[in-house]
Symmetry: C2
Subunit: 414 residues, 2 copies
Amino acid sequence: MFLFLWDKMGFLSNRIFNMGDSEGEEVSIIRELEKRNTKVTKLVMGDPSRYFEIQKNIKDAYNKAVNSGKTFYLDGPGLPELRDEVSNRYLKLYGIEAGKDKIIITQGVIEALQFLNYSIIYKNDNALLLAPFFTGYAPCVTLQEGRPLISNLKESDKWEIDIEDMERLLRISKPKYLLITTPNNPTGSILSKKSMEKIVEFGKNHDIFLVSDEIYDEIIYNGAKFTSLSKVATGVPHMILNGASKNYMATGFRIGFSIIPEEDKKSKELRDSFVKLSYSRLSANTPSQYAILEGLRNKKSHEKFIKGILPKIQTRSNLITNLINKTEYLTAIRPVGAFYVFAKIDFTKLDIKDDKEFVEKLLKEEHIQITKGSSFGFPGYVRIVSLPEEKIIYDVIRKIDEFCNRHKITTRTI
Amino acid sequence: MFLFLWDKMGFLSNRIFNMGDSEGEEVSIIRELEKRNTKVTKLVMGDPSRYFEIQKNIKDAYNKAVNSGKTFYLDGPGLPELRDEVSNRYLKLYGIEAGKDKIIITQGVIEALQFLNYSIIYKNDNALLLAPFFTGYAPCVTLQEGRPLISNLKESDKWEIDIEDMERLLRISKPKYLLITTPNNPTGSILSKKSMEKIVEFGKNHDIFLVSDEIYDEIIYNGAKFTSLSKVATGVPHMILNGASKNYMATGFRIGFSIIPEEDKKSKELRDSFVKLSYSRLSANTPSQYAILEGLRNKKSHEKFIKGILPKIQTRSNLITNLINKTEYLTAIRPVGAFYVFAKIDFTKLDIKDDKEFVEKLLKEEHIQITKGSSFGFPGYVRIVSLPEEKIIYDVIRKIDEFCNRHKITTRTI
């Protein structure tokens, strides 16, 4: 028998977890709309490069690399100078001593997660995720026939971790690793220093490898403070994920950084495994590694770039939050990192049953595409990308409000 | 327990198959040599971009893409215009009608093989490979806990397929797919039209999905004729792999093409799975997709480029073959495709026991690195990259000959 891929989609007890099932319907709706030449406003991709120009010195370095013939394969683990610069970044920002040999360059963060799951997830192994979580995490687990073990976070806890729930889950099964995201996609929250310390204790007490996706670690605003796992996890086996896609807004470069700083057996074996896996797929894109090398080296230029962008993201995120909270139907807490607003829908007021129906009908009727919470393992919510200009934001939220008004329940049958 | 990756290395009955075990030793030897400032001549990477400049119009298109802000994520399956051009290429070269929807852009051919194995290989499933085969194939299988089923080719058959052996293997287990490579890495051979037709019959008769890696399909010389699987497999479920790395010599771009042209259930499901997997890792590198689009569109410029390069590869490959056959110790048949010479070592004349020892001692003593046959699942041979200039080739083969002379067995103890 020829097995179909999504047979590999995992689930745990009654926490059935699906992905990629309804995007198909959204695609058909968009096709229909485009046939009729109807413009669709898409606020689904967290792609800053569609809204902001990347740094000029990075572009120049990219061109220089291409023109000078740097179009060959690089070493599997990445350009040595780039690995050195990533090492410097962690020393400078977080005081972490992690030399070049502790750093691997991957094709985006997703490849690092593929490497992680390739290395340690076998059939029926568990990986502990905190919902809501980034869409791409779960397939990396289930494709190795592993199963995500999910601890649900609460908006009422400001999306901080629930350590009791996590420990309760250990009674079901001991996961191979815990994966956290801070600053968070989709919630825009940042885990407090206290939460980060609890996570380190959790990893230490239960011998669970810790992974922190910190790809948005420079996209912080509204006065928030960020704690990198690297800063609090000294002596505890862990890995940090980062890259060029968000801080440098160079999503199309496909450059991720993995930092595995410790010297315990788990960390050493994982590093060795990452190196072997990196050779087995030859190399990440070469000119973009040279380009990001320039981006990391020229710190002043990058600081200036980020300083110019952050106020815009803050303004737009706050505007969306304010407008949404003025509606009768949606609420959201103010994000402090990344560039998303994660809004709760009050379905008691609407003739719409769930986030999937909400997103599909909104697309069909208002030609606005946003992401359903279910895609992040968290139904009942929607995610709105906070990158577009204010004019578009006003228009989008007004239309969402009109859409809800139209779907307001006026009479109830008992 | 924290399992180590290479636990996942597969094996079949007594055909123990190892990879990545001795490269570690070569790396240590090179480190030692470099400490002493000794230059190592490396003929291990099939990386034409280290020897030839890529097309100027492709570089220009790359720069244009970067400068005009094409640094965002593309659609998972790839830039639509590029998929159209790949479609046109197959129509023009092989008369195949495979529209854009049949084509997926991947991060090199390896990612396509990861997608294939993700999609259809479950624990203990088999994939049929023909040895010698490209180093990267087997890990993609074993990482899904599948096992390569291996049919050994023979140099005496000019590396053509042995259909009886393949059918005999079916009695052990029915593989999920057969993967062939033509033109071949490491042998430099091309499968005859007759072999290709037998392969199609094999796939049809035994209901086995066929995969043909044709990444070198323009690197053909010495008057050879190439038959693409796409040309003979109409109506039979199959997939063709190609990309920018060899024909365009743009290895560092990391751009592969998958063509799944048929309309049967297997092909449709695999296509659907490839699309989903492509979205789950967001996008291949964006500017390089625009660059290769120009490469495919401007056919005249590419034809001129290839015409300029092929005579050089032919001369260099033939020179290596001639020089090697003049030694007492190594023999090889003349390659007709790709850019490698796969040479057999006569160990009866040497105080060296196998290809692994040969390669390590040659590196240590002559500071020349070539690849052991074992890396391609084929001990007793070595692979020499035929891209360097004649001067280097003369020097390398002279040193190999001197090395063998020094290791010649003069007396035998009985």
